[in-house]
């Protein structure tokens, strides 16, 4: 990762005490920009910790997009109608596209895709735990669209106003596509819910399995969230985990009613006084277990990812070798490589 010094504007070479003063001046300017809701751009000076936080978050987001392809791609070859097959293929393709934007956004912070993929494959960086649950039936494709993409949108819409420009702009496009996916998932479940008794049961079963993990997607409760306070201060994050979770529950309750499906929480009810829904206690033990690697599909997901990467190595090497030869021909140089 590049250091702050590497991103100092020209002429800002400073040492010792002078260096400290310069850093302080840049920090003040950075803080003022954030406070004024201005966007921080790649060439702007930024604190190392801000950069590191963004890299961690954007990488995790990018990894989630590409790992997230797996549970849904699991149903592409079995989609029960050609229309649904086209919708699902387009959705999984969009996720690959989101991965591309997000790895590009991370690149603006000085970290390449190869380096990030390496961290994913070696377990040094994470992806959203939700994708460590299996898609057992076709209805899971609908439940993922409705609940998982719904939760993702609730999380991501505020990121369109994130202080870091490239990330905010990538999120605008991602959110538009995600909201399309969410409606498609809802519509898939509606068709099942209104279908045969077997289809209805399939939809209910999927919602029963995906509801609680979807609530966990907002992260641990505010008082246990490791990175929240600083991220809020930097305007990377705009709302607390618990606020977003509450917003999501309030959105889902009427939608579940329209779907004719039941959310699996006996404590879920409207609280007149608070003007929002009360809901049951989340099993945080499960959350931490899945996060630690003990979910139903952690091993399977990362193994498939590594396998695809390793089996594709000869293809990437060939492309690089071909490009290098081609570059050599054009410029008269040899040995140029493409990462």
């Amino acid at each position: 990762m590049a250091t702050a010094a590497a991103h100092r504007p020209p002429g800002a070479q400073a040492h010792g005490a002078e260096d400290t003063a310069v850093i302080e001046a840049y920090t003040r300017r950075f803080d003022a920009a954030v406070a004024a809701d201005e966007r921080i751009e790649p060439r702007d000076w930024m604190p190392d910790a801000y950069r590191a936080t963004l890299v961690r978050q954007i990488a995790q987001h990018a990894h989630s997009e590409i790992i997230g392809m797996q549970p849904e791609a699991n149903w592409i070859t079995r989609a029960p109608s050609l229309r649904r097959k086209a919708i699902l293929m387009a959705k999984v393709q969009d996720e690959a596209g989101h991965g591309l934007y997000l790895y590009s956004a991370a690149e603006t912070l000085g970290v390449g895709r190869d380096e990030l993929l390496d961290k994913l494959h070696s377990g040094r960086q994470k992806y959203s735990s939700i994708f460590n649950y299996p898609t057992l039936t076709w209805a899971d494709v609908g439940a993922i669209g409705w609940l998982v993409d719904g939760a993702a949108i609730t999380n991501q819409v505020p990121l369109c106003r994130c202080s870091y420009g490239p990330y905010a702009r990538a999120m605008v496009r991602v959110c538009k596509e995600e909201s399309f996916h969410q409606r498609q998932g809802y519509e898939l479940l509606l068709a099942l819910s209104n279908g045969t008794p077997e289809q209805h049961a399939m939809a209910q079963d999927a919602v029963d399995r995906w509801w609680w993990p979807s609530l966990m997607m907002f992260g641990p409760p505010d008082d246990e969230s490791q990175h929240s306070a600083q991220s809020m201060e930097w305007k990377i994050k705009r709302h607390s985990n618990d606020d977003l979770r509450q917003r999501f529950v309030d959105i889902c309750v009427p939608q579940a009613e329209s779907l004719g499906l039941t959310l699996p929480d006996p404590d879920l009810r409207w609280n007149e006084e608070r003007g929002e829904h009360d809901f049951g206690t989340i099993d945080w033990t499960e959350f931490w277990e899945v996060l630690k690697g003990n979910g139903p599909c952690n091993e399977q997901r990362i193994t498939q990812r590594r396998k695809a990467h390793e089996e594709g190595a000869w293809v990437r090497e060939a492309a690089a070798a071909h490009a290098a030869k081609h570059t050599g021909e054009q410029t008269g140089e040899t040995g140029a490589t493409r990462a």
Partner: protein
């Protein structure tokens, strides 16, 4: 739900009444099945591609082909009944498109051979005034991209490293015997012997050119033959195709009459 009449290889649907045009159902099925089956194979790559850009590209090609398949199958009957309720022997696709993905080189060789053929075919159909002309005019633009993608990768892999060269050569050779079938007449397509011969010769020129630029050898094996490699148009398929259909049709068949 019984499979519709159109699932039998009758060539043309019965006219709606005296003087009504005879619709080339067999031809719509042949082209529709090609697109459907290859789209399915490409869809199997999702989550397994060698690089993220190829996740996007392979899905894109699969989606184009699925779009073509839906139009063509709808010309012949109900798209879902045709896709999900026919038995293996009723499918009219080329054996080439049902071949398993293999490694990335096999997928690319299959795409190069097929897209080169499909581009020539659709250019021919688009130039005519038959029932396939409107679809072909739109599809030509998509297919030109598919072919370009396959050509670029053939050259990259043929030229890249020793390993990629060897894999690409092996793939081109392995699939060669399925390429003669593309130029056999299809009932109702309206292409005469002379046109098919010209298409075949243009296909050979084009593929030879790409393989040459990739530093690959044009395979010298037969492109059809005594045991009729390539009888997909007659409903004779290769073993992997039955398994592909079993997976594709399982859920739909498990819920007879359901809507999705």
């Amino acid at each position: 739900m019984t499979p519709p009449e159109t699932t039998t290889p009758t060539g043309t649907a019965a006219p709606a009444g005296p003087g009504a045009p005879v619709f080339p159902t067999a031809a719509a099925l042949a082209l529709g099945d090609d697109a459907l089956v290859l789209s399915h194979r490409l869809g199997e790559w999702a989550g397994h591609a060698p690089v993220l850009e190829e996740e996007v590209a392979l899905a894109n090609i699969a989606l184009d082909l699925l779009g073509q398949a839906r139009v063509l199958l709808s010309m012949a009957g109900d798209e879902d009944e045709l896709a999900y309720l026919r038995e293996e022997r009723a499918f009219r696709n080329l054996q080439l498109v049902e071949q398993p993905n293999g490694d990335f080189a096999h997928t690319i060789a299959r795409q190069l051979y097929f897209s080169t053929y499909q581009l020539l075919l659709h250019a021919e159909l688009a130039a005519g005034d038959g029932p396939f002309a409107p679809l072909a005019a739109k599809a030509v633009k998509e297919i030109a991209y598919h072919r370009d993608h396959a050509e670029q990768w053939t050259v990259r892999l043929g030229d890249g490293t020793d390993v990629s060269h060897e894999r690409m050569q092996r793939a081109c050779t392995a699939l060669w015997r399925f390429t003669g079938e593309m130029f056999q007449p299809v009932e109702g397509l309206g292409l005469d012997e002379k046109t098919l011969t010209a298409m075949e010769s243009a296909w050979l020129d084009s593929v030879t050119g790409v393989l040459g630029r990739a530093g690959l050898t044009v395979p010298d094996g037969p492109r059809g033959g005594a045991w009729a490699a390539g009888a997909g148009r007659q409903g004779v398929h290769t073993e992997p195709f039955g398994r592909m259909l079993a997976e594709m049709q399982h859920l739909h068949r498990s819920h007879p009459g359901a809507s999705w």
